[in-house]
Symmetry: C2
Subunit: 343 residues, 2 copies
DNA sequence: CTGAAAGCGCTTACAG
DNA sequence: CTGAAAGCGCTTACAG
């Protein structure tokens, strides 16, 4: 293996000190422009590459941001991560990504790994069953900034980046009511999580405003995945009094449910109208096309990393920031349009 | 900020040398078991965490594997990454992930960042338009192992992890022929990429064996995304002699195309049967359900990282490995069954 | 089984 | 604008 070039090699060849080389390479304002040019040229010539480990060791910082997500392979999360990677890459930061696989236990292990990796900051969307903040305490103690996004933990003074799930839930439900529906079944995930709890709040609020009583039997907590969608359809089929609409907190689940309903001969939207959540690409390719809430996933990722980096650079202080709320949007398509069909 | 605990603190409190502490912490065989127990207990007590930067600097290795993918937010890639993360996490390695966004230019920049981050190994699936190996040469020169997966670059002595795309393409096409189809349109991506070139080979092979002439007009190179699927449907509608089957090298594109065809009143599978590729969850939730090739994405990610780590640890030498081929599988569903419909 | 000592490649407070 | 020197926290060849 060829020997690595260091700042000492550059310093020797240029007959200047390593300190000057280091400063020139880092574009230190006190260094003469000509020296900088010389140093950079020589660095290029020798194929120098900075040793981040020496630098990190010395500076006691890592330019690395940790990210813990429930899973990598969901539409929302992979899109959030794509946004995060984009900004981190542009800003010269590295991302260390790990997945909790919806288990608090794995999330705790991941948090510890992140801690030991000395990430400069941590971005977290929590698992289905996380009910403790304990594993994040070490970060706060060390003043390592911690930002929650999407699925957040409350009451811990950490900033969060979310959409207004209550508003989104309200709009989804209200839209169904405007279409003349009143027996609206709400299919959701673990209600311990803000995203689902808030969507439920919005659902209830819309019912209340329209003087439709909320029925516990019309609230189903599921895994919100493909399989859950099929099961929901089965259960609906068996109901003596079927709902006339569904508000399902995930598109993939909604689409699986619609597909199963159609196989049973139940017409969507005429027998049952459906609204999903996320604006997953899948929503556009089924028939009928799925009405849903657009979730700004890429933007959420970009803003999360951007906020973190600004905070780390000191250009923005997050300590006073409580929450950043992004705009979501109801997208009406055929799955909830009862009167007319699309051409 | 509380002061970080180092091995010197442990050494002082235990009245032994830092060298012994270091060895005990790393479970060095020469160290007395009792000493190890003592050191570990004290480390725990003081809240010690190893400084990876000092360790990496000294050891000249990083326990970090770089991954460059075309994009994070596709079903296949996010699933591959999920598999990679799982193994890396279990083995105590970190992953640095970046996306080329299908551009060679960005891929070059990412490769350089990986190089400067001194990854111990690099895993790459190349962009649509990558036509040079130049940006990977620095890794080979430094003997940093490089493994290609899914979209590979050939003739460079790097091991690759792939499925047998030719066989998969053959099976998909042959299945359509067995169903009585003979005007089979093949929708694919950039043919510079092995995955698409090989699927085409399989397609041609199946035609040849069945004495169906290959027609250039029945091979369409597209972006293989949702929009492309819609456009394909438009173009088909305008054709005087429409194909009776489609083999589309991506499920999402296939599903978008089916959806558009149905809106035009073209029946799938009776007018046109369709086979996709990947076994994206979306394949199961449309009507008709999509016949496709199951792509072992998670396994591919797991094997890629596992192979890399084994190589780095010296338990497996990759230098003689040319390619690891994973099993793919044709999954027949309704979109290509002409005779009978599912119950 | 343990220790003393050197060194990995940087950065920066201090001095000039 | 530049330099000398110390130190970040480890690991390991060498010695005993």
């Amino acid at each position: 293996m060829a020997k690595e070039i260091t700042i000492y090699d550059i310093a020797n060849q240029l007959q200047i000190s390593p300190a000057t080389v280091s400063r020139a390479l880092n574009n230190h304002p006190a260094i003469n422009e000509k020296t900088k040019v010389l140093v950079n040229a020589k660095a290029e010539e020798l194929g120098y590459r900075s040793n981040k480990f020496a630098s990190n060791l010395r500076k006691q910082s890592t330019s690395t941001i940790g990210v813990i997500v429930p899973r990598l392979n969901s539409y929302i999360m992979s899109t959030v991560l794509a946004g995060m990677e984009k900004i981190a890459n542009e800003e010269g930061f590295n991302l260390i990504i790990s997945q909790s696989l919806e288990s608090q236990k794995k999330e705790i292990a991941n948090a510890q790994t992140m801690f030991n990796s000395r990430v400069d900051g941590l971005l977290v969307s929590v698992a289905f069953d996380t009910d403790s903040f304990e594993h994040f305490q070490p970060f706060l103690k060390k003043k390592i900034p911690l930002i929650f996004f999407d699925r957040i933990l409350e009451n811990n003074n950490c900033p969060s980046i979310v959409i207004d799930n209550t508003k989104a839930g309200y709009e989804a439900t209200n839209h169904l009511i405007q279409q003349g529906r009143s027996n609206i079944l709400h299919i959701t995930g673990n209600l311990q999580r803000n995203v689902y709890a808030d969507r439920l709040k919005g659902y209830q609020q819309a019912l209340l405003e329209n003087e439709i009583p909320f029925q516990k039997e019309f609230l189903w907590e599921t895994a919100l995945n493909l399989e859950a969608g099929k099961e929901v359809a089965q259960r609906i089929k068996a109901m003596p009094n079927r709902p006339d609409a569904l508000f399902i907190a995930s598109d993939l689940c909604a689409v699986a449910c619609i597909s199963a309903l159609k196989e049973m001969g139940i017409d969507v939207p005429n027998d049952i109208s459906v609204v999903g959540f996320n604006n997953d690409p899948v929503a556009q390719v089924i028939a009928p096309k799925l009405t849903t809430i657009h979730y700004p996933a890429k933007e959420m990722g970009e803003i999360a990393v951007k906020s973190m980096i600004n905070h780390l650079k000191g250009t923005m202080n997050l300590d006073k920031t409580n929450a950043i709320t992004l705009r979501s949007e109801l997208i009406v398509r055929e799955s909830s349009r009862i009167i007319e069909h699309s051409a």
